[in-house]
């Protein structure tokens, strides 16, 4: 198989930070080359070099055997390189169709034809998104699909997927993997970055492990084992990914939702959660989990029903109400909702509980640094220091900051929407431990995750949602992929029957 592209001795410095310390990497025709490594290892940076988005401090690129230098993303695109970015890069005010073809719009745009082409592409991906909707109104998962369609529309010979499944649940992720296999069969070279190592093993032909900006190893997938890869990534052996649930005890009722509804997105939701419990919210993308989380926190206002906090009916009309009721929410869209990219890490860490570093309205920055540093260390945050803006962090480390903010807020009920999105295994394990410790100390935790194994690993029970309603509950003994999916899908069909009737 011929080599499509090779990156040679690539170095990249950001001020004092050496993000890439002389990396070699190559990609062959018709292969899936997985790139793994801890958060902040330099994976995305390396791919930005490949895509002409960053100029390396030193090193060279050769494409189809010829040395090239990219003057910008435009250059790389025209050489047949596409990147699906970890941080979505879409124009929210434009339609799905316009976004997909943004780089190659004809001088005069025939919107009908554009929508048709977009529809075909999306359909080929197995999704059903109206090409005329504005991207800004899509869920993160569907935005991800648009990104993928955009890259595919290029007919590129090289496609980089930077954590494409991080927001996709079970079957949607599966579908994406199938598409990648098809692309590979057609001879496309694919770089696949993911923290879901089972996917990596399912899909890839070769695996390259990076650590702290250096190349650790490149292996044929057939010769590699998950445990080995993990310990090469993390630099230590990992025992169990999930901490033991022993010692957690359900206590008093913390929150009770009674017949909560919000249009078609949340329908008649009732459930309760106790202190010391970790409850999962499972279901497929678009099943309404995020909306439930937002209503419980006060980010959206329920149209009907009531929410009781510690037994008392509570007004939850704004996030402020949520915080006053000692409820916290880590939102799914970290870039738009979770963190302030321009602000330093420490500022983000204390934002939900600013009074902890304020006296008479004045900030105690020294104390804030101390708090942020401690939080960072406990989550293995990789950053130069806590005064650095969050935008300088790798994707996974940004997610850790979004979590740190709410860990610091110390709420009685913490709602986590896709908390480990883009987080590496090592840090995931730390986060699970923190969640476990929170529960042990008597907090209630509600977790939404599209990684079902994650829910199984940390939850005491799982509520399954479909079409805005809770359709069932699994307790620990029923934690299997089949049970969960069956529940999530049955209801969907039943609902359709109702609709037909």
């Amino acid at each position: 198989m011929s080599v499509l592209v090779s990156l040679n001795a690539i170095k990249k410095n950001f001020g004092g930070v050496q993000a890439l310390k002389g990396i070699d990497f190559d990609l062959r025709q018709g292969e899936v080359h997985a790139l793994v490594g801890e958060n902040g290892a330099g994976k995305s940076t390396l791919m930005r070099v490949l895509a002409g988005e960053t100029t390396p401090s030193s090193g060279s690129i050769s494409l189809f055997g010829k040395p090239v230098e990219f003057s910008g993303p435009h250059d790389a695109t025209s050489h047949g390189i596409s990147v699906i970015h970890q941080e979505l890069a879409l124009a929210p005010d434009l339609t799905v169709a316009e976004n997909i073809f943004l780089g190659r719009l004809p001088k005069f745009v025939n919107h009908r034809a554009l929508r048709r082409d977009a529809h075909d592409l999306i359909h080929k991906l197995g999704f059903n998104i109206d090409p005329a909707t504005q991207v800004g109104s899509l869920t993160v998962a569907h935005q991800q699909v648009v990104e993928i369609a955009k890259a595919l529309s290029n007919n590129s010979r090289i496609i980089v997927f930077d954590e494409p499944t991080a927001v996709l649940a079970g079957s949607d992720a599966e579908r994406l993997l199938d598409i990648i296999r098809e692309l590979r069969a057609a001879g496309t070279g694919i770089v696949y970055i993911s923290h879901r190592l089972n996917e990596v093993f399912e899909l890839s032909d070769r695996i390259t492990v990076m650590k702290d900006g250096s190349h650790v190893e490149t292996l044929d997938t057939a010769d590699a084992s998950i445990d080995q890869i993990i310990s090469d990534m993390v630099g230590r052996r990992m025992d169990a990914l999930f901490p033991s649930k022993l010692g957690r005890e359900a206590g008093e009722l913390v929150l009770e939702a009674r017949n909560v509804s919000l249009g078609r997105k949340v329908r008649d939701v009732s459930f309760s959660i106790r202190a010391g419990e970790v409850v999962g919210l499972g279901g497929l993308v678009g099943s309404g989990r995020t909306e439930v989380a937002r209503v419980l926190f006060g980010a959206d206002r329920a149209k009907s029903g009531s929410i009781l906090v510690r037994g008392k009916p509570t007004r939850l009309h704004s996030p402020g109400d949520g915080v006053r009721a000692s409820i916290g929410l880590v939102p799914e869209d970290r870039k738009m909702q979770g963190v302030i990219l321009d602000a330093p890490i420490r500022v983000n860490c204390t934002l939900a509980k600013l009074r902890s570093v304020t006296r008479l309205g004045f900030l105690n920055v020294r104390k804030e640094r101390r708090i942020a540093t401690k939080l960072g260390a406990s989550m293995r945050l990789k950053a130069a220091n806590v005064d650095a803006p969050v935008s300088n962090l790798s994707g996974g480390n940004q997610q850790k900051v979004a979590l740190a903010k709410w860990f610091h807020a110390d709420c009685e009920l913490l709602i986590l929407d896709e908390p480990t999105r883009g987080v590496d295994v090592g840090a995931k394990s730390e986060i699970y431990t923190i969640i476990n410790d929170l529960a042990k100390s008597g907090k209630a935790v509600l977790v939404i995750s599209s990684e079902h194994q994650e829910l199984f690993g940390i939850c005491d029970r799982i509520l399954v949602m479909a079409e805005g309603a809770i359709v069932g509950e699994l307790n620990a003994s029923e934690f299997t992929e089949e049970r969960l999916l069956t529940l999530a899908m049955t209801r969907t069909e039943k609902n359709n029957d109702e609709a037909i009737a």
């Binding site: 790389a76 434009l94 316009e98 780089g103 005069f108 745009v109 999704f127 059903n128 699909v145 969907t492």
Partner: protein, 329 residues
């Protein structure tokens, strides 16, 4: 139905209409204002008055609003429009009356002056990434100075050799003042460019997420430069129209116009944060502003009070937009 989504695959029937009238609020304001104005003064709903208002808008902030919308869509702002119009008016009169140039050549050179000032502003904004507010403020001062120097501060009468221009300023075409026809054509072209060309879509996308556009391999800076050139050219067109209407080219053209032009665009529902705004609504926004001052004159609101009324009517108008936006959901 697939698990991945519940949306119908085809665009809703009226999505084209939605695309044109992006913002029902502006239509709402416009209609309410028309009704109120008709009741307030009998003179309002006469053909001649409506034509007056239209012509005032056309030779005032209307044409410039088209260019401003492009700039605002990219998150920029162009404060120089009024001064560039003044250069256009003075230069036009100067070339025709003092230099004896022919009308076509004059118009060409005036448009060129708009291209030049737009290019200068656009260059610093696009290629040096300097803030458009300050750069266009600087250009505003420079162009005003140039118009004053060129005219030595006094109006230049266009005179008989430019009578075709003056006739255009006061003439009618099928009962509609010719400057209004020109304005409508410019709005139509602007709307078409915005909706149906890659230029228009990319400009909108830049305001929405510049980084995404850059990563899509689009040479963003060229487009940003482009919108300032458009704004400059249309400002110089507005200058010629103002000269045509009054028969003189004076450096007083467009003093303070920038705020009105931007207000028209924003009342039309565009966001100064970029990415959002439509041409049809901008036209309505421009007309709304024109109607407000017109109706106060017709109704005989005394001078000092006109300011207060103007402010109150604008706030009321924005409240209507707010209510309309709510109602839509």
């Amino acid at each position: 139905m697939s698990a991945s989504g519940t949306l119908p695959p085809s665009a809703s029937r009226n999505s084209r209409l939605v695309e044109i009238v992006r913002n029902y609020g502006t239509v709402g304001i416009f209609l309410v204002l028309m009704v109120v104005a008709s009741f307030w003064s009998d003179a309002f709903l006469t053909e001649r008055n409506l034509m007056n208002v239209a012509r005032q808008v056309a030779s005032g902030h209307g044409i410039m609003a088209v260019g401003m919308l492009f700039v605002v869509l990219t998150r920029g702002i162009d404060l120089s429009v009024g001064s560039v119009a003044a250069v256009g008016a003075v230069l036009g009169a100067y070339l025709i009356a003092t230099m004896g140039f022919s009308l076509p050549v004059t118009i060409l050179l005036v448009l060129l002056s708009g291209v030049v000032s737009g290019t200068v502003t656009g260059f610093f904004v696009a290629y040096m990434k300097l803030p458009s507010f300050v750069i266009s403020l600087a250009m505003m001062a420079i162009a005003r100075g140039v118009s004053l120097i060129l005219s030595a501060g006094r109006p230049i009468t266009i005179g008989p050799s430019g009578s075709a221009l003056v006739d255009f300023g006061s003439g009618f075409f099928l009962g509609v003042p010719q400057p209004v026809v020109l304005m409508l054509i410019i709005f139509a072209i602007g709307g078409a460019v915005l909706t149906f060309t890659s230029f228009g879509r990319i400009v909108t996308a830049i305001g929405s997420n510049e980084e995404a556009v850059r990563l899509s391999g689009v040479p963003v800076r060229r487009y940003i430069l482009g919108v300032y050139v458009i704004s400059g050219v249309l400002a110089s067109v507005a200058g010629i129209v103002a000269a045509a209407r009054t028969g003189i080219g004076t450096p007083q053209v467009g003093v303070g116009a920038e705020l009105n032009v931007i207000a028209a665009v924003v009342i039309g529902g565009a966001s100064l944060m970029g990415g959002r705004g439509g041409m049809f609504n901008t036209l309505l926004g421009a007309l709304i502003l024109g109607i407000i001052t017109n109706i106060m004159n017709l109704a005989g609101v005394p001078g000092y009070h006109q300011n207060v009324y103007l402010g109150l009517i604008i706030i009321l108008a924005m409240l209507i937009q707010f209510v309309a936006a709510r109602g839509r959901q």
